[in-house]
Amino acid sequence: MPDDRSLASFVKKAFARRESTLILLLFVLLVPISVRSPQFLSMKNISTILNDMAILSIVAIGEFYVILSGGIDLSVGSIIAFSGMACGMVNESHPELSPALLLLLGIAIGVAMGLVNGLLVAYGKIPPIITTLGTVNIYRGMTFLLSKGTWVTAHEMSPSYIALPRTTFIGISILLWIAFFVIALCYYFSRFTRTGREIYAIGGNPTAAKFVGVNENRVRVVVFLVSGALCGLAGALWTARYASAVNEMATGFEMQAVAACVLGGVNFSGGAGGIIGVVLGTLFLGVVTNALPVIYLSVFWQTFVQGLIILLALALNTLSDQHKNKKLLAQRRG
């Protein structure tokens, strides 16, 4: 058995992965930007970028699981809104409750909403796009009903809650710690638990998955449950971070989550992609967004640039696939 562990083959394998390409691109981006504006790479700015992206990274991981299983979750923004509004309101009426409890509340709410999505998809056999197309409206409507049209403003929230994401521990904000923790937990889930691997199976080849005994329904429910939980957590954090809970919060946020996944190399047909890639994709989006003012592009162009990046990422996907296919074919014969 030849030992394929030489450095050369390791490097070659590493570069075949999307994650490496992203890291490379990130560096390529950062160089000209930091030349233009040295403060970009300052601790303060990096910290801003990371904090801005923390919530998105949490949500993007949830979206990643859904896309991995072959579906899509469009209700993400609405779950964040409902959870965020609920936490805000509870905080307003019961300021004595510790913020940690509010986070748990957010997760619990997210789990319930994700469960509904999951049950509809798995047992109602409704395609995920349609289910979440329906629930994005229903959940948003519920948010309005819950708040009775009012908002929760900074004055009405307890200082401990607002301070939660900002408090630092060894120089890193709690928000970032939570994000790191979530990423680590999800990485562990994806890599070291059976269910985590089964998500790859049902996305990659549902028929084969059935053949080897994977319980497709159970896995689908879990996937939406996790996505819901993460969105619920994100909602609780969102309200605290922006010190407000409004009915329109996080509208359209699902698209950013999906964008992060696409950048991270997640395949829409399911079965391919990794958490690291998604996190890097989020980071990439964050850097680009933050870099706009540096290159004198008004913030108003942010949306356009994001779209362009995703399109380029897709083109990159296709080109690299075509290239790989050509190589494989040439290896075979002819």
Binding site: M1, A201, N205, A208, F211, N267, R332, R333, G334
Partner: protein, 505 residues
């Protein structure tokens, strides 16, 4: 004779309109390699599906290890120790070899309850080593060649502690050395006391590796016996049940002018240097083992795939189609290999399927469909093929395989092709329809249509073709005159690695 592991008695499986299995018997023993022989449509794959729990028998019994048993689903069968080697169906292309083998029964670290990748990779390495396979467990399956994927499938079966291993045409995508590897594995499985059901139509393999055989024909049990006590002729007789002449109608070839000339046609990764000419009224058989590249060649002629080199000319004019539409305009029709995915739109009615290629002609100014004209056209061509269905409005998916093929043929004769290409037209259909298809091909040739007939069945290609072009691994190895060719000479060409000397163009 070792003890019986699995016995099938009086097994019948009926689908609407067709009796796939009719009162069949089969006895599989541990430590024995048992060949299941039969033509296409004899019921072999149906039996496999029953054994693996995919189909539930209509009647009959299954006895496993002495006990009557019935499988509710595929998982039951697997739990009992029955594993079938499929082609692509069971692989996860984006995952590693290790994971493909362990999906569904990952190993866990007993202390931490997490997945133990180290142990799984190590076990995979050992399994692959036992089979002397040079594959890195961390490779993604999508980066493996078809042959290697096959090997991984087999390795998977081993990891599942199978008692009965079913192999359905396992060497179809393998080359010489890989076939030997496979045989080595089969022998070691035998020594381990496993029962092996080996489905193949290749007699040389059957006589090399199998101990026992059972023959099916038209869904019925015909006979069985020890391989050592038998020979090819007796088995072929059992398979076909009638002399070859009856199945393949005579036709007088009246070779007309040249309609197609192909020179050094290549497609990267699929085939290279294919050269031949085709004449009006002749039937050119295209023979080769599965994976030889024949379908790719005809798809390129039809314009679905692109050539990477070489030239084609149609009636003297250069021809490089950019799509099926262009080929159709120039008079080529292709009856594709995959009837259900390529030949028909299953969820559309027969009418809509049959009229699909010629919609423009059946419509007013090429746009507006004319129901009356369409109906008349469909009735005309449908009745020519004698399709058995409750009406032309039914969805194509409700028809049996043979009738579906008739619909595909009806669809294409309406385009009045000058060149008719048929890719495995009799695969998976009953013998009566088979004969009808063969008669149809002869009629077409009689009318002056040039026919290319791809087939993996020696008797079919010998009986139907005027000339036989043989391919192997993407290369053209011979063009033989069918009247002078024998089964041996054709098979020799089909496994040859170089172009054979004695070819008659």
């Amino acid at each position: 004779m070792p003890d019986a592991l699995l016995e099938v008695h009086n097994l019948t499986k009926i689908f609407p309109g067709i009796r796939a299995l009719d009162d069949v018997h089969l006895t599989l023993r541990s430590g024995e390699v048992h060949a299941l022989i039969g033509e296409n449509g004899a019921g072999k794959s149906t039996l496999v599906k029953v054994l693996t729990g995919v189909y539930i028998p209509t009647s009959g019994t299954l006895t496993f290890e002495g006990k009557d048993i019935s499988f509710r689903n595929a998982i039951d069968a697997q739990a009992a120790g029955i594993v079938a080697i499929h082609q692509e169906a069971s692989m996860f292309p984006e995952l590693t070899v290790t994971e493909n083998i362990f999906m569904g029964h990952h190993l866990r670290n007993p202390r931490t309850k997490t997945l133990d990748w180290k142990a799984m990779t190590e076990q995979t390495r050992q399994l692959l080593g036992r089979m002397q396979l040079d594959i890195d467990p961390d490779t993604l399956v999508k980066n493996l060649s078809v042959a290697k994927r096959h090997m991984v499938e087999i390795t998977k079966a081993l990891s599942l502690d199978a008692k009965l291993v079913i192999m359905d045409e396992p060497t179809s995508a393998l080359t010489g050395r890989e076939v030997e590897d496979l045989f080595r594995i089969v022998r070691s499985l035998k020594e381990q006391g496993k029962a092996i059901l080996f489905i193949s139509h290749k007699f040389d393999e059957i006589f090399t590796i199998c101990d026992y055989y059972t023959v099916f024909r038209d869904g019925q049990y015909i006979g069985e016996g020890k391989v050592a006590d038998s020979n090819e002729d007796t088995i072929i007789n059992m398979m076909i049940g009638r002399s070859i002449d009856q199945l393949y109608p005579e036709h007088q070839m009246q070779k007309g002018k040249e309609v197609l000339r192909v020179e050094k046609l290549c497609q990267l990764g699929a085939f290279k240097d294919i050269s031949f000419t085709l004449h009006e009224g002749e039937v050119l058989g295209l023979f080769g083992l599965v994976g030889a590249g024949r379908s790719e060649v005809v798809r390129t002629i039809f314009g679905i795939d692109k050539a990477s080199g070489g030239t084609m000319s149609l009636l003297g004019e250069p021809f490089s189609p950019k799509g099926a539409k262009e080929s159709m305009k120039r008079g080529i029709a292709l009856v594709p290999e995959d009837r259900q995915k390529q030949g028909l739109v299953l969820k559309m009615s027969l009418t809509k399927n049959i009229s699909l290629p010629v919609l423009k002609q059946l419509s007013y100014k090429g746009l507006v469909t004319r129901a009356g004209k369409e109906q008349a056209y469909v009735q005309d061509h449908g009745s020519q093929m004698e399709i058995k269905a409750a009406g032309y409005h039914v969805d194509a998916e409700t028809l049996s395989g043979g009738n579906q093929q008739k619909v595909v043929l009806a669809k294409w004769i309406g385009t009045s092709p000058k060149i008719l290409i048929l890719d495995e037209p009799t695969k998976g259909i009953d013998v009566a329809t088979k004969a009808a298809v063969h008669q149809f091909v002869c009629d077409m040739a009689q009318k002056g249509v040039a026919v290319i007939l791809i087939s993996s069945e020696l008797p079919e290609v010998l009986g139907m073709a005027d000339r036989i072009l043989v391919m192997h691994e993407g290369c053209q190895t011979a063009i033989l005159d069918a009247r002078k060719a024998t089964a041996e000479s054709v098979m020799k060409a089909a496994i040859a690695t170089t172009v054979m000397e004695d070819t008659h163009a």
